[in-house]
Symmetry: D2
Subunit: 336 residues, 4 copies
Amino acid sequence: MIRAAIVGATGYTASELIEILLRHPDVTVTQVTSRQEDRPAISDVHPRLRGRLDLKLEPLDVDSVRKNADVLFSCLPHGASAEIVSTVLDGKIRAIDFSADYRLQNLATYEKWYATKHPDPNRMGKAPYGLGEFFADQIVDAEVTANPGCYPTSAILALAPLLKADLIAPDDIIIDSKSGVSGAGKKLAPAFLYNEVNENIAAYAVGEHRHTPEIAELLSTISGKSVSVIFTPHLAPMTRGILTTAYSKPTTEASAGVLLDALRDHYAGHPFVRISPDLPATKHVAHTNFCDITVRRVEDRIVVISAIDNLIKGASGAAVQNMNLMFGFPETTALI
Amino acid sequence: MIRAAIVGATGYTASELIEILLRHPDVTVTQVTSRQEDRPAISDVHPRLRGRLDLKLEPLDVDSVRKNADVLFSCLPHGASAEIVSTVLDGKIRAIDFSADYRLQNLATYEKWYATKHPDPNRMGKAPYGLGEFFADQIVDAEVTANPGCYPTSAILALAPLLKADLIAPDDIIIDSKSGVSGAGKKLAPAFLYNEVNENIAAYAVGEHRHTPEIAELLSTISGKSVSVIFTPHLAPMTRGILTTAYSKPTTEASAGVLLDALRDHYAGHPFVRISPDLPATKHVAHTNFCDITVRRVEDRIVVISAIDNLIKGASGAAVQNMNLMFGFPETTALI
Amino acid sequence: MIRAAIVGATGYTASELIEILLRHPDVTVTQVTSRQEDRPAISDVHPRLRGRLDLKLEPLDVDSVRKNADVLFSCLPHGASAEIVSTVLDGKIRAIDFSADYRLQNLATYEKWYATKHPDPNRMGKAPYGLGEFFADQIVDAEVTANPGCYPTSAILALAPLLKADLIAPDDIIIDSKSGVSGAGKKLAPAFLYNEVNENIAAYAVGEHRHTPEIAELLSTISGKSVSVIFTPHLAPMTRGILTTAYSKPTTEASAGVLLDALRDHYAGHPFVRISPDLPATKHVAHTNFCDITVRRVEDRIVVISAIDNLIKGASGAAVQNMNLMFGFPETTALI
Amino acid sequence: MIRAAIVGATGYTASELIEILLRHPDVTVTQVTSRQEDRPAISDVHPRLRGRLDLKLEPLDVDSVRKNADVLFSCLPHGASAEIVSTVLDGKIRAIDFSADYRLQNLATYEKWYATKHPDPNRMGKAPYGLGEFFADQIVDAEVTANPGCYPTSAILALAPLLKADLIAPDDIIIDSKSGVSGAGKKLAPAFLYNEVNENIAAYAVGEHRHTPEIAELLSTISGKSVSVIFTPHLAPMTRGILTTAYSKPTTEASAGVLLDALRDHYAGHPFVRISPDLPATKHVAHTNFCDITVRRVEDRIVVISAIDNLIKGASGAAVQNMNLMFGFPETTALI
């Protein structure tokens, strides 16, 4: 039985994380912390948890975390997260960081896109990118795992095997993603009010979304090629789910069947990725850790489409998958 | 051609009001004001209005309003609204107040439920309640018309004729209402975030909603009886619409057919109320000024059900209906 | 490890049931049947199940079911269900029936409200009503358990303890329920198209819903009083969830606190019912087997409000809870 | 005052059309027809119309239509529509066809994509394409106007001026569109049930949607270039609205500002197209005849984004705009 502490426990990803951990036979949640002054029980903040986890929220105390936890899940925003994680790590406790702080290898890219100094630059490039389908070997031994971004998860799972297998061109990739609103967290902004979101779809952050360099860097790392992407996120009127439609140029005459097989080959032994000739839909993966993917040839393009639940495979499910790898539990425990 | 000024023009009801007024052949919107420091064009706040009304928001200036407007629509919250309305009125300009300030006749009831001093107590009881189906005679000559609350509109239209005709008992009425979220306006509170509202239904303000005394007082005034009600509002996952299901005790053996006829008789000549044996649905009245009503006998109860669009018949449509009455235009202009 | 067969496996409740059973450590799903001619894999009908349960749908074969299953879940409609259940039962296999066929004790009531002959009248009254919070003792030994209706679950859990404790009057109860659309199953009717449901709320089957006698009979049985109810269901624009707002007359001066305690006392030891002074919301129980309940005094009424997920506590979760009781597993296995 | 007959009046586009025509000062709806045997009043089919248009649905009678109408709106599906339109036309009555039958110039393209013989091939290429922003001159005199498809409207308005002005390459265009479900009409298919659509987003008809040749042909006609497109439609969980995100290659160094000006220049004098540097959203154009467009440069691509209401600018609003042009009314009558 390992003990888990959750830092920044008042948001949606923490709520999902706790629900998964409560089903995990080998984990106990021992601490939940919040930076807010007012600290009720976690189940007052997330009424879904009533009677299931009624721990009181605490201020973060480094000694207490080290004493009471084997694994730290940090659900803090970037900047704040690496600061806390780097402070808590003591050679024994291990961490899974939901923020972007350890995802990129390149410090300059981080500081440009996130417009902040990195609080723990020495660990950048040492934390594996927490996509078990590609980096399980490194995650197993990691002190810190960088939990992937939601959009990058949907895009990388769809495109990386085809890039690696030289089936699509690395320099002409358009990624058009549609996300539910929980991706924005509990942020109190007019744009996220029900009346603004309901019956509405719109693009946002066109050409400027911070997941763009994450997608490009990871696709490059995995494929060994210099990959560039155009990435356009959209907000769809739903709570959860990301559908990514990616357009690329073929480098061969390979048919859709061959492309599907390339994906199937890559994901053999990876139970959370399901390849099918059928078109994916976010509803088919909602509340699960699955990523459904298909690929089609349309005229002179290859269209790859993937669906995930942004809160599960795009956040808290992936975090537990990483924890399972790091602590030697079966990868699917509490997730299927 | 009359000139309209809108005070508090950044909210949803103002946006709907402007769209209706833009279709009105006899009205020009000449001023839109906001208490916010930052004052862009009204069409920047409400992008729906781009190219249709690009007036710049102004701070409220009493002299300017008096000089530029024949009618003032106040979309301010209670307290603030009567303060402004009472300051602007000068014997020439006329006003329609969206707030609760002039709806109640009883000052003590107002001050108890709204927990504030009334800024213009002398005008209470002199402003007619702006439900044209009952108070058209007074509205025609009003200096200020008190635009009704959204829930009260749905409840009073459903119940008042039956109470007046002695068909239901005045002392055993339960009103269970379901509203879309636009009723809360643009209020930035966690409860109104998309993720909290979507796929959710809940009661709120049980036994404490401020529309309770409004419903009871108006039903009493119209019927000449002492009416008491239990009122429970619910938030439904939709932007607009109120469905009210009201349970009362019959005082006669009258069949559903007789009850329907009583409603039809009362609303003859009132084009915005549609009586039908079919069950109403908010979708049938969305974006219209209609109120659909039916009535059924169920065991020892009479169930009356009504549907309105809370932003139109429950707010901005009713305001234009009142303006039409006050200025001698056909009641339905710009509304059908 | 027990073996489960699911009859009528193409609907929403079967899909939810399978997802729960897949998490159950002591159950294997061995058979899924469908009356449709075209029988693909169950995961073609429910793409969520891909890679998790890919059994081929079969026609119902009594011998095969008896040989391959210890428990039969019947997700067939009323009439059809009892016909199959009564045919399959052989003294060894046990059944949980999702239909209304075994819920009522009174044959005449059944035949009046369901307008059909009962195919297995001798078993009526012998199958316990599958609400573990009241009938666990009988369920433990049952050959057939009658899985409760969704609306009745929400209403009975809210009202029965207060009736039993003589805290509310049995003859003046109004039940106003709001349900998500999955309650209608996958029925292909215009009323259930997205465009008709979205942004819409309406009452239906006013005074005529078949759950009315089920609620009244069970409340009477549990309380030992003759209980009559007015029941009005509404369709809300959401997939899952039922919120029930029940209005009743107090028989004592008991405060809300006392009423809450009466509920807490009754549900002590019943982990799926959560009593709180806070107002319930369907979102707090979505995808769970919980029922959240509160009670308030409003003027001369007692208002009890409950929330469930109609597909889980109102159907498939309750079925697994019943199975757990029948087969001696901990009541919460696979459900928390 | 002109008289309008509506053929195929039971669908969503007919309902929207009637609501617009009821606001038109110069039009009376004189006939509504349906192929269904059961013909109640149009307001029984569309309860929104109660008390506003209670005409009885009639079977189509050619003589009656000719006698009672000056303009025929055909809301029938392709194939059926041209058959009726060609039968009714007599040199006096004029028609607006909502189907695809007269949109394409090329018969072979039509017969390939629609897999049917064209019932009126001689009129193909003679009916102008009903996009007033490009073909007003021809529409003014048309006997039949081919009302555009919803996706093509959103794509052509976004791209045509840039193609015409040689600002983007004609052979590398990707169109990713997201539509509300009303685009599917009232079709009774499982895919359009609320439970399937809600909280779901998915692509469909990838590489196979019939609007693909319509977009390519019209862009080619307008620009005088051979334009090819990849078009991927998606179903979003909302009733109305289309957002189109189009990716193309620049042919010049023109900045976003220059591109915006090119769009503004083209649409000067066309009140329904609004060009802005801000990102469009379907909510800003819902229930209006507007198309909002912006354009951005992102890396080596030009991204053009447009938003329309598929039922208004994408169908019934465009039809009335066409009627206004054909009959000499101001283009915006009943539409602003």
